[in-house]
């Protein structure tokens, strides 16, 4: 199921925050699920390391873009910490998405197929 390391892509600086916000758009999620979701939707291109995930989550929390709550995990007898997108987090997501689209378009114009 894992891709070999050489097919993985390094996350660009700052993009992890955007990916996390995007993931949370579909509803509250805990850290493990966020990591898995990003990995799955990127078809295993990104491996989200915990050393970067948790700093990113706490960074978003400090900015006020996400809030947290502890809750039972479905079907498990275990409490996990859920992250929820706040209204300002949604605004932030829209803003970075616009920027991202512009960036991709701009880079696409420069980068012609070789």
């Amino acid at each position: 199921m894992d891709k070999p390391d050489n097919e993985r892509v390094e996350l660009m600086q700052g993009t992890l925050d955007m990916l996390v916000l995007q993931t949370l758009l579909f509803g509250p999620c805990h850290g493990h699920a966020i990591a898995k979701s990003i990995q799955r939707t990127s078809e295993e291109a990104f491996l989200v390391e915990h050393g970067s995930l948790y700093p990113a989550l706490h960074r978003l929390e400090r900015q006020g873009w996400v809030t947290t709550k502890w809750d039972k995990a479905p079907g498990k007898n275990r409490e996990v910490k859920y992250y929820l997108l706040t209204p300002s987090g949604k605004k932030q997501l829209v803003a970075v998405q616009n920027k991202w689209t512009q960036l991709v378009a701009a880079i696409g114009k420069v980068m012609r197929p070789v």
Binding site: H50, G51, Y54, E79
Partner: protein
């Protein structure tokens, strides 16, 4: 949410995450143990994740610094010897630096405690001749009057820096006070007016003007207590009544510690014939220094025509402005900078040394640091921690430096109270302590930067410790040479014989600043009777009296050669000593030609003088002087009846502080006016005796009691003590620089020792093999010493350019010895060779105990 809560929560969150991961793997069919391990593997370091997340919240950096500080302190405690060495070195260097900075602060930076101090300036006379200039900080009466009468852009004031201790009587009480004489405008120019009463009027500041006095606030309290009616009260100064006209505000200082001020009464005659006045100005509002300089240059042209010097050069006088602070402290600035440079050099050597010690210790911590990095500590963290280690060590020294700084400042004052009198408001205040702190931080940084860099560098090759040793050697070289040159200067001056026999001499001073001794006849009788009685004391071999004795400062006197004035004749400057006939004999100053002063020379007989050999050489071209005439100040010719050997005197001008100077001795019976000279000098009773000084001084005191119970002998000194005082500055510099360079050398020796010891320790196996294969013990030792010797010598070579820097600093402070004195350089080279040789040899000698068999087996 507290930090602890957040940490706990984060740990819980991570644990939950890991368990979920393990659950999933379990569901995929892995056995529980394998699942847990796989989960942990894919998870990475939880510590790292926590660490990074914590950093997000900003607490971490401070937190980790505090934690590492605890570790650093624990490490410092674990090696007490090492810590103590570092602390003592840093404490000494930082403490002395702080104390010297406190002095420098006052001498260079702190504004003078007067309103608008920027407008105050000191007036010097600059004497200029083709391309050369010499600055003299004193004015003659004529120069002062030229300035006073012509200046429009500045308000000038004149004063005398010479203070005198005088007896002050108030009612039935007597006080010993310091008196300074100042011109009428002195207080106005400084911008501080009396708190009560007024300052002096022009009338009071002129000859035969009313006797007025202004008191300091502290003297007012001592004499009159809190009574407000001080102005108009009478005081007795030197037995003469003075009226108090004003009291200065508390805290007012006129440069030196003064209790009361009296009018200077500047004149172009007497005192004013010589350069005896200091002058300062206050720029009028809106006038720039440049504008005032222009005017002063114009005024300078009105100065009395310059006299050609001995070699015929004409030095044109010109008024020169200096900021008042600079002018007042000009004599101090160079020695202070020299001391600061020396102590900073020692601090730098100490810091490099500590760096070397830390670097050597680092090799023992390599495993620990590697583990920490492997566990996820970032390079920045490790760098920071190692630097912190050095900072902690140095900071312990810095803390110890604070009490030391207070002690050092007191010590410096005690070593030379006169020299630092001008800066006695210096204190270890916030500014000085900040400088100490900056020095400490700087030293910690210098000491820690290399070990820190070494700990994170990917290069595994160790930084060559030898380079540090070389650096220290380069720095210590100018220190040693400087101390050597100052030491030679001091010894050269100290060994000046003086031209008399200083053994078994006691000199007692007596202040004759007393109205009862204004009349010449009274002074003569006092000396005549006093000497007869002292000579009658059993055990006294000889007794004399005179204005001054050799080794100390003498009375300056203008002199002209020839019985009659000749147009265009030149004034020369000699020293004048009035003396009783027994003076030369008691001091054992040899008489070279003619006769000495005699009892038969009285006020009614022909005026005579004995001049010394230096006088003859300088003013009479060395010809037979006996029978020649000179004129001393007045018009009356004085016949030279004898020539004595030269004596060494304190020289207050440029040049060495102790030099053979021209002197004219005249009989005390032919001295006509004592009042002026007795303001400056307390005459000396000179007694030659083999008695214990304590016994003798008691005898002399009882003699004086019978002579005049109102007079008391102030202090008993010996010629050696006088010489010591005259050479006080040299002694201070040489002792401080000696201590500092010794400290620096000790540090270097430690560095060399450590270098050789560590290289021996590293190569024990290799050396063991060599010895087993037949290498000789001396050969092996020689080889082991090599890095120490080589690096040390490289350092010394690198230090040679620094000597040029040192030479400019030392210029003007070394006398009687060349700046490239071969003996000094030879001694320094010898000391360095012996020190470096011993420091290299000692650790190498451990190899003689090396058993090749044991080494090989290990």
């Amino acid at each position: 949410m507290t930090r602890k809560d957040r940490d706990d929560e984060l740990a819980r969150e991570l644990r939950a995450h890991m368990e979920m991961e393990a659950d999933e793997l379990l569901e995929q069919g892995l056995p529980p143990d394998a699942a847990r391990n796989a989960a942990r593997r894919s998870f990475g370091s939880p510590a790292l994740a926590m660490e990074r997340t914590r950093e997000m919240w900003g607490w971490n950096s401070l937190d980790s610094v505090l934690r590492n500080l605890r570790f650093a302190l624990r490490r410092a405690r674990k090696s007490p010897g090492f810590t103590a060495t570092v602390a003592v070195v840093i404490a000494l260097a930082v403490g002395v630096t702080t104390a010297i900075f406190a002095l420098i602060d006052v001498a260079f930076f702190k504004p003078l405690p007067y309103p608008e101090p920027d407008r105050l300036a000191y007036i010097s006379m600059s004497f200029e001749t083709a391309g050369r200039a010499a600055l003299e900080q004193v004015l003659t009466g004529a120069q002062w009057e030229t300035l006073r009468d012509n200046a429009t852009l500045v308000g000038p004031a004149v004063y005398s820096e010479w203070t005198a201790g005088v007896n002050c009587g108030a009612g039935d009480r007597a006080f010993f006070v310091q008196q300074q004489r100042v011109g009428a405008d002195f207080f106005r120019v400084l911008g501080v007016l009396p708190a009560f009463g007024r300052s002096f009027t022009r009338e009071e500041d002129s000859e035969n003007g009313p006797r007025a006095v202004v008191l300091s606030d502290s003297l007012r309290r001592r004499v009159f207590g809190t009574s407000p009616d001080v102005v108009g009260q009478k005081l007795l100064l030197r037995g003469e009544p003075y009226t108090v006209v004003g009291v200065m505000p508390a805290g007012f200082r006129s440069g030196v510690n003064v209790d009361l001020w009296t009018p200077l009464k500047p004149s172009i005659r007497g005192e004013g014939e010589g350069s005896n006045y200091q002058a300062m100005i206050r720029l009028k509002p809106g006038v720039s220094i440049a504008g005032a300089t222009g005017e002063l240059n114009t005024i300078s042209r009105a100065l009395p025509a310059p006299r050609p010097a001995r070699d015929g050069t004409v030095w044109v006088p010109n008024f020169k402005l200096q900021p008042l602070l600079e002018g007042r402290t000009s004599d101090l600035r160079k020695p202070l900078l020299l001391l600061l440079g020396a102590v900073l050099t020692v601090l730098l050597i100490g810091a490099i040394n500590v760096g070397g010690l830390l670097l050597a210790r680092q090799s023992g911590r390599a495993a620990e640091l590697a583990t920490r990095m492997a566990l996820g500590a970032s390079r920045g963290q490790v760098f920071r921690d190692v630097l912190l280690d050095s900072m902690v060590l140095v900071a312990i020294g810095g803390a110890l430096a604070v009490p030391l700084a207070f002690g050092a400042l007191d010590g410096l004052r005690w070593l030379n109270d006169k020299m630092f009198g001008l800066v006695d408001s210096a204190a270890i205040d916030g500014r000085a302590l900040s400088v100490g702190l900056a020095c400490t931080l700087g030293a910690g940084l210098i000491a820690g930067i290399l070990p820190a860099w070494q700990s994170v560098t990917r290069k595994r090759r160790a930084f060559p410790l030898g380079l540090l040793v070389a650096g220290q050697m380069a720095l210590v070289l100018p220190l040693l040479v400087g101390a050597g040159l100052l030491g030679r200067t001091f010894l050269t001056l100290w060994n000046i014989e003086g031209g008399f026999d200083p053994e078994n001499l006691v000199i007692a001073r007596i202040s004759l600043q007393d109205a009862r001794y204004d009349a010449a006849e009274k002074v003569r009788r006092l000396f005549r009777e006093g000497i007869t009685r002292i000579q009658g004391v059993p055990g006294v071999e000889g007794a004399a009296a005179g204005l001054t004795v050799p080794f100390e400062r003498q009375l300056n006197q203008g002199v002209r050669v020839g019985a009659q004035p000749v147009p265009g004749e030149r004034w020369r400057s000699t020293n004048l000593v009035y003396a009783t006939p027994s003076y030369l004999g008691t001091l054992r100053i040899p008489l070279l030609r003619g006769r000495g002063l005699q009892e038969s020379d009285t006020e009614t007989t022909e005026k005579v003088a004995v001049v010394n050999a230096t006088f003859v050489r300088r003013f009479l071209d060395g010809r037979d002087a006996v029978g020649e005439f000179i004129r001393l100040g007045g018009k009356e010719p004085v016949r030279i009846v004898g020539v004595s050997g030269g004596t060494a005197q304190r020289n207050t001008e440029r040049g060495a502080p102790l030099e053979f100077e021209p002197v004219a001795y005249i009989p005390v019976t032919q001295m006509t006016s004592f009042a002026m000279v007795h303001q400056w000098f307390s005459p000396a009773w000179i007694v030659r005796s083999r008695m214990q000084p304590e016994v003798l001084s008691r005898q002399l005191e009882s003699v004086m009691q019978t002579l005049d119970p109102m007079l008391s002998l102030s202090k008993f000194t010996t010629p050696v003590e006088i010489k010591g005082k005259t050479l006080g500055m040299q002694r201070l510099l040489v002792s401080l620089l000696g201590v500092l360079s010794g400290l620096g050398l000790m540090l270097c020796v430690l560095g060399v020792y450590g270098l050789v010891a560590s290289s021996v320790a590293e190569r024990t196996r290799e050396i063991g093999i060599r010895m087993a294969l037949g290498a000789s013990v001396p050969g092996v030792i020689q080889k082991a010493m090599r890095p120490g010797l080589l690096w040390a010598l490289t350092g010394v070579a690198a230090g040679v350019p620094l000597l040029y820097l040192g030479r400019t600093v030392l210029a003007g402070l070394i006398h009687g010895v060349s700046a490239v004195d071969p003996l000094t350089y030879g001694i320094v080279a010898g000391v360095l060779l012996v020190a470096v040789g011993a420091a290299s040899l000692l650790p190498a000698l451990t190899l003689t105990r090396l058993d090749p068999a044991v080494t090989l087996r290990n």
